[in-house]
């Protein structure tokens, strides 16, 4: 609708528009293109300082196998999955419940609680660093375990997820819930049989989004874990930078590997992802 549809413009303008898309994309993604190329270059090419030209020979298999054989990258990936999947599932479960309670029950303080979740979601998480680390070291001895990251991400993401779920559930007509209530369905069963099926799209959107948040986390991976056995791929990659000093082809391949899961998920679940991200961007 805006700007004027290109189809209404002159032929020349249309052709120019189409022709400009690809260069624009290339410039925009240049850093990524370069890293992808580098990940398949030979070390000789890199040593000759050829970083930004078309790779002469492709070392795709060699470089990517090297990443897995010469570093715990495989372990890091597994760790990332073990951290991310439960954290996402748990935070969505918690926030679906909390979001429903905040959206559809009138009780004193409900708005205050909601505000707390929103505010918590915006908190600069650095302020949580020392106490949370302390908690996992001294109170609940989970420091340097996958569970520590799972629990923390679960709790922290609950803020954002609750905001999201509450607003989504708010849009469900009250009548759907009241109808069940009049029919004698218990409150918990209403949640399970009526509300949950209705918020499934929202949960999918949230799942994809939170997956990338947690997967890409670097700060907490730095603060709460340190062994290769539990480190996720972000912190692992950063640590490998020290080991692979000028093996840029390996670092690049590692970076590509680290970026791949969220990118793939984004492509598969694009609609959900964008729906989740843009919640509230179109109305209000």
């Amino acid at each position: 609708m805006f700007p004027t549809p290109i189809q209404d413009r002159s032929r020349a303008a249309q052709a120019f528009y189409r022709a400009s898309l690809i260069p624009a994309l290339v410039v925009w993604l240049l850093p990524l293109v370069a890293i992808a190329f580098t990940s398949i270059r030979s070390i000789d090419e890199l040593n000759q300082g050829r970083f930004w030209t078309w790779p002469e020979e492709t070392r795709f298999v060699e470089n990517y196998t090297a990443v897995f054989t010469q570093s715990p990258m495989g372990q890091f990936l597994v760790n990332s999955v073990l951290i991310t999947v439960p954290a996402v599932a748990l935070s969505i479960a918690l926030s679906a419940m909390a979001g429903y309670a905040l959206a559809k029950y009138r009780f004193r303080g409900s708005l205050v609680l909601f505000a707390i979740f929103i505010a918590g979601n915006f908190v600069p998480f650095q302020i949580l660093m020392i106490p949370v680390r302390d908690l996992f070291v001294n109170v609940v001895p989970l420091y340097d375990t996958i569970l520590a990251l799972v629990l923390f991400h679960m709790a922290f993401q609950t803020g954002f997820c609750t905001l999201f779920m509450r607003n989504f559930i708010k849009q469900i007509p009250d009548a759907l819930i009241e109808a069940a209530r009049v029919e004698g369905v218990s409150e918990l069963r209403i949640f399970w049989h009526v509300v949950l099926p209705l918020v499934r799209p929202a949960m999918a959107a949230l799942a994809v989004l939170v997956f990338t948040f947690v997967w890409n986390d670097f700060f907490w991976a730095l603060v709460l874990v340190q062994s290769d056995e539990v480190r996720p791929v972000t912190a692992g990659l950063q640590a490998l930078r020290g080991t692979w000093t000028s093996a840029w082809q390996l670092i690049s391949a590692g970076a590509i590997i680290a970026a791949l899961p969220p990118v793939a998920l984004f492509f598969l679940m694009q609609r959900h992802f964008i729906a989740g991200l843009t919640l509230g961007a179109t109305k209000g």
Partner: protein
């Protein structure tokens, strides 16, 4: 509706009610809230309070905590690096306000329906999906004085050996540019959604009234994008204030803390200088700054809620 005779079915009658039955409507919300609230209290609310309390102490992580009142804050006041962090955070904030503008520009550029545009849009969104660790890595490399693309390009213009990450004036901006890249992508998506949800009648009406180009954009399009703009600004502010990953990866705050930000400085004070209380005080300042925005956001949200 046929008028067939009603078969005799048991009639629903009033049943005696258990305690749970009578109170489930008031207990259920508590029950549902409890897990989220417990997790949130333990890992978010309590740590905030704990950090604020810690910021009034001197602690090296091993000896007894020593209560020192506001000494940490007093020291911050004289701390050059602290002020550098504040100034840099302000630069981050200001520069990140470009993200909504540039995101909107790209969104407008891509808001056409030609073949393959959906793929192009999603490719444009890539930088947001990938980890900041990767972004930082890519940009550190981009800036590298020996083999970075920046210098390859500048060399074409006869400029040699620019190394932004080395320079106390340039490092922050070099990192900010890297931070802007995913942030612009994020804002772009918000605006694309906003554009898609626009009411075409308003645009048509404006066109009928003879509005074109800038005037149409300014008076008919932009007002409709206000929700998207609001969110874009909010996420950019938060992104700017939280910035840690890129600083840690690209410069580690250097050279000599010239590119540090509050989030990184608190990390450094805590783990490198082993001053937990002082680090907590830095975090507290960051928290207070952020509270201005949180308060603003809450105020707007709750006002909408009441309407």
């Amino acid at each position: 509706m046929s008028s067939s005779a009603t078969p005799s079915l048991p009639v629903v009658t009033a049943r005696p009610e258990s305690w749970w039955h009578r109170h489930q409507a008031s207990i259920t919300p508590l029950l549902l809230l409890l897990p989220a609230l417990a997790a949130f209290s333990l890992f978010v609310l309590w740590p905030i309070a704990s950090s604020l309390w810690l910021s009034l102490h001197d602690w090296d992580g091993i000896s007894e905590r020593r209560f020192i009142g506001f000494d940490n804050y007093r020291e911050l006041f004289d701390d050059r690096v602290f002020w550098t962090s504040i100034v840099n955070n302000i630069w981050w904030l200001l520069a990140f306000m470009l993200a909504p503008a540039l995101g909107l520009a790209i969104a407008l550029f891509l808001n056409q329906s030609v073949f393959g545009i959906r793929l192009v849009k999603s490719l444009f969104f890539f930088p947001f999906v990938i980890s900041q660790v990767v972004v930082g890595l890519v940009f550190a490399w981009f800036y590298n004085p020996q083999y970075g693309l920046l210098n390859e390009v500048l060399r074409a213009f006869g400029i040699e050996g620019i190394s932004p990450l080395d320079s106390e004036t340039g490092a922050t901006f070099a990192v900010i540019v890297a931070g802007l890249w995913p942030q612009i992508a994020y804002c772009m998506i918000l605006y694309l959604a906003g554009l898609a949800a626009m009411n075409p009648e308003v645009i048509e009406a404006a066109r009928m009234d003879g509005a074109k180009g800038w005037r149409l954009f300014w008076h008919a399009v932009l007002p409709q994008l206000r929700p998207a703009t609001f969110i874009a600004v909010v996420v950019s502010v938060i992104g700017a204030l939280r910035s840690f990953d890129l600083v840690a990866i690209m410069t580690a705050g250097g050279p000599y803390s010239s590119s540090t930000v509050l989030a990184y400085y608190m990390y450094e004070q805590t783990f490198l200088s082993v001053r937990y209380g002082y680090g907590a005080a830095v975090a507290a300042v960051l928290f207070l700054i952020m509270n201005v925005y949180i308060a603003f956001f809450l105020w707007r949200m709750l006002r909408r809620e009441q309407a």
